[in-house]
Subunit: 229 residues, 2 copies
């Protein structure tokens, strides 16, 4: 009797890379130059190699497709998508990753197969998206929004040195709300290890110079940051 063999599949990673640019939450998208879904928007990603771990594959694909280095960038597994038929090329199981990045330069990944650029998330509505990437983006946005509540991840959207106004803008842009500056400062500064003051001052722009902070060692927020009603 023949020994039974389990079905086979290809493994891919897809990345939801978010950043805050120009006071808007932006997503890194690929405009597909080849079929399937030629001309549609897609997430950066690709197949996992033999003997390659998933986070390594995510970092490699991001760099290959957009020249963005995953060095100073938060990367976490989001969810796995495996519905039969989600990719017309066959059974492809995609492990999605969520990456949060400080304001990065416009990607230069401009190959024959794909063009990469940042797009404000509110401009995605109505655009044609490849595969089930609309679902993945929705899940990624939801994860990012909820993680800002109970973790210090908002600082990963900021450069190494940042002002409290910049940090507040992150919350306002990601959540689409306005926050009271006084309550926000009180909350952030009273949370042990959220940010650490550097003593430095940012000058050169209009208005009173702002104190610069660096991200602190704390990872979770007790109690959480909340959007006012």
């Amino acid at each position: 009797m023949e020994e039974w063999q389990p079905p086979i599949a290809n493994i891919a990673v897809d990345l939801v890379v978010l950043t805050v640019r120009q006071d808007r939450l932006q997503l890194l998208v690929i405009e597909r130059g080849i079929d399937p879904y030629q001309g549609a928007l897609a997430l950066p990603g690709g197949f996992v190699q033999e003997d390659e771990d998933l986070p390594d594959a995510a970092r490699r694909e991001l760099h290959e497709e957009t020249q963005i280095s995953a060095a100073s960038l938060h990367l976490e597994q989001l969810r796995t998508y495996a519905k039969p038929g989600r990719d017309p090329r066959g059974r492809i199981v995609s492990v999605a990753y969520l990456a949060l990045a400080p304001n990065l330069p416009t990607p230069v990944g401009d190959t024959d197969a794909a063009r990469a650029y940042w797009m404000p998330v509110h401009e995605l509505a109505g655009r044609r998206l490849a595969f089930d990437h609309a679902d993945i983006i929705r899940d990624g946005l939801e994860r990012a929004r909820s993680k800002l509540e109970y973790t210090t991840l908002a600082t990963t959207f900021c450069p190494e040195l940042f002002t409290l106004s910049e940090l507040r803008r992150v919350y306002e842009v990601v959540w689409g709300v306005r926050l009271d500056a006084r309550n926000f400062q009180r909350k952030v500064l009273s949370t042990e290890g959220f940010v650490v003051p550097t003593g430095e001052i940012r000058r050169g722009e209009a208005g009173r110079p702002a104190r610069l902070y660096r991200r602190g060692p704390a990872g979770s927020l007790h109690p959480p940051m909340t959007a006012e009603h």
Copy 2:
């Protein structure tokens, strides 16, 4: 030139099935009867079939291995494990699911290949676990514990009708803490849609009879349930 083909893998699902029995948090484990890891403890699970979606595979494997029906049971995707070498049989990517169940009968899945039973999670320490299942269990427990905070998932550990004491026991057992009964009742009853009173009373046991409740329509808890310090 040959066309490049992406590497192939097998897809599996593994289940972290938790329940509260005998005032203890218990995990559904399989004692493996065959290699690899013969004799070690493992999670129920198996390979995903062709054209099968992941939740369907999870439900099917659970039923095949333990005769437990996944009808009234919360099932959610936990995380995907794909590190090369995690399974000596080859490249196997496992999508783990977390299931929470009310007190279920002892599983009867007792085949030549595996024996299934409930085990209190605190007895897992020091036991030999197959593959990377120790990691999966750790992640599943962490997810379950944190979800009790900000969702109404605790009710999925309870039968259809339950008392507030039973619900409180769920929190106490999963979190390993003691909760003040008065503060707990105030919190639960003041959260719109957490539980709905049925008007029925449970009698027949020692002590004053308790009111019976049913799970309410609310899914998330604002503000969250917290363990007292």
